[in-house]
């Protein structure tokens, strides 16, 4: 059965788009049919991260307004044949999205895909609320710092009140994904600890993604980090998170000890 998963955070710049792309690719590699949907109308980025920016013809707004068919707007990934992208419009703004239009698109995607990953814009306004509106599950992307955690908390409150599931008395299943985690700084007390974050958010942890140059490198070449360099620490962390989404139980590790060991092994390459 198709699952609609919204990747959201409240705060901007925490890694929603990166995580959507990485998790989408990881789920697709497991064999599921996956579509990643960019809800950031007017400030689209997911097409860049997916490396599909030169192939965008129609977009979410065109489909919502009936200008184009869904099949015309969907872009198939060149590396994975069961991974698709539905891009956002860059020339419009969030007011062009309507509740009814989003509902129709999500309904149609449900019949075609196993996973529908909605990349939410930052903020708590129309774009963000419509991205989460029809979600079955939610990933709340959080950085280990107070403002991000507080915004995530606000978003969790909205997931519990403004989604269709919540209005029907059900619950959107929520996962916290901690990104940009720097164990060295956390050890020095310069970051919120994982325990502190989870205590505040009172929501299960999906994964811990370390801060890494690998992610920047992958973004620059237009590839999800899980496809660009599947062996790097952040790609492994995303792969583990994707398997947890599929119901597997995998021990939660902070994927850094290994990296440090690696660096030591290779001499001080990272300095």
């Amino acid at each position: 059965m198709a699952k609609v998963l919204v990747v959201t955070s409240g705060k901007g710049g925490v890694g929603k788009t990166t995580s959507t792309a990485a998790l989408g690719a990881a789920l697709a590699q497991n064999g599921d049919k996956v579509v990643v949907v960019d809800f950031d109308v007017g400030l689209r980025n997911l097409d860049l991260i997916m490396g599909a920016e030169r192939r965008v013809v129609f977009d979410l707004i065109n489909v919502a307004q009936g200008v184009a068919k869904l099949s015309q707007a969907l872009i198939r990934d060149k590396r994975l044949e069961n991974l698709w992208l539905l891009p956002a419009s860059q020339t419009r703004d969030k007011d062009a999205l309507t509740d009814e239009g989003v509902r129709q698109i999500i309904d149609e995607l449900r019949s075609k895909f196993d996973w529908i990953l909605c990349d939410s814009p930052a903020g708590i306004e129309r774009g963000a609320t419509l991205a989460m509106r029809y979600a079955d599950e939610a990933i709340i992307v959080t950085n280990p710092e107070v403002s991000s955690v507080r915004d995530s908390d606000r978003i969790i409150g909205m997931l519990d009140s403004k989604t269709v599931k919540a209005e029907q008395g059900e619950e959107v299943k929520k996962h916290v994904l901690i990104t940009r985690y720097d164990p060295a700084r956390a050890a020095r007390g310069e970051m919120l600890s994982i325990d502190d974050i989870l205590e505040i958010l009172a929501t299960p942890l999906l994964g811990i993604i370390p801060e890494s140059q690998d992610i920047l490198r992958a973004s620059n070449v237009g590839a999800p980090v899980t496809l660009n360099d599947a062996a790097c620490a952040s790609a492994r962390a995303y792969n583990d998170a994707a398997r947890r989404l599929n119901g597997e139980t995998i021990a939660m590790t902070v994927p850094v000890e290994r990296k440090r060991f690696f660096e030591r092994l290779l001499g001080r390459r990272a300095a």
């Binding site: 708590i124 507080r150 908390d153 606000r154 969790i156 409150g157 519990d160 505040i200 009172a202």
Partner: protein
């Protein structure tokens, strides 16, 4: 309808006050009108028992004797007349109920025939909830307002969340947001929490912000209460 102004003169403080009462407006012939009252009593015998009744005699012309007779006829039916209006005061002697003036109409639901309007009784409604229980955490941006009584939160109250209660506030998790108790002027209201990291605590308008809260209390079970006009925050246990 009608209002009654207290006519006594005393050295003590006198206050005027209006009340709601039934008004009987008898019409001629009085005998027939009394039959109508009897019919009402036959349907619901206890209908007028214990209710304040005022006689409006403006529609009939009765002598002092006639008025006394009417009042005693009503008393025989267990209807006690609280006051009389619409007659000349010279007609009323000391044995009769006092003359009332200044009556005004008021609307009361549940009126019966005979122009009899019913005094508003204690409404038969479900007892109002006096406490609110929240089983999930209160998230940033949420504002819980419950003016009727206490609020109990089983989880935590996040930074940026707000609890407003008429009574006390109990938080069994960490209180990181704002808690305002006793907002209806209840100085006895208190705020309790398992861990205090609050942004603001207030009881009946007296408040302390995070900066005012003693650092040594932080992250411990604590309660806040009012000592006169000062808010005290003390450890629990």
């Amino acid at each position: 309808m009608d209002s009654k102004v207290d006519p006594q003169r005393q050295l003590v403080r006198l206050r005027g006050r209006s009340y709601v009462a039934f008004v009987f407006s008898p019409v001629m012939p009085i005998v027939n009108w009394l039959e109508g009252i009897d019919a009402t009593l036959a349907r619901s015998p206890g209908f007028f028992v214990g209710r304040p009744i005022v006689l409006d005699l403006s529609a009939v012309k009765l002598s002092g004797h006639g008025i006394a007779h009417l009042v005693s006829s009503l008393e025989n039916r267990n209807i006690r007349v609280l006051g009389i209006e619409g007659v000349d005061s010279s007609l009323l002697d000391a044995s009769l109920p006092p003359l009332l003036t200044g009556g005004r109409h008021c609307m009361i639901e549940q009126s019966e025939p005979k122009k009899a309007e019913v005094k508003k009784e204690t409404e038969p409604k479900a007892p109002p909830a006096t406490s609110l229980l929240l089983e999930s955490p209160v998230r940033s941006g949420q504002c819980i307002v419950f003016t009727e009584g206490d609020v109990t939160v089983l989880g935590s109250v996040s930074s940026g969340a707000e609890i407003v209660a008429g009574g006390s506030i109990h938080v069994y998790g960490t209180l990181r947001g704002r808690a305002m108790a006793g907002i209806n002027g209840n100085q006895a209201a208190r705020i309790y929490c398992q861990r205090i990291e609050a942004e603001l605590l207030a009881i009946d308008g007296y408040y302390q912000t995070a900066e005012d809260i003693d650092q040594t209390l932080r992250s411990r079970p604590a309660q806040a209460w009012l000592d006169g006009e000062t808010m005290k925050i003390t450890p629990l246990i």
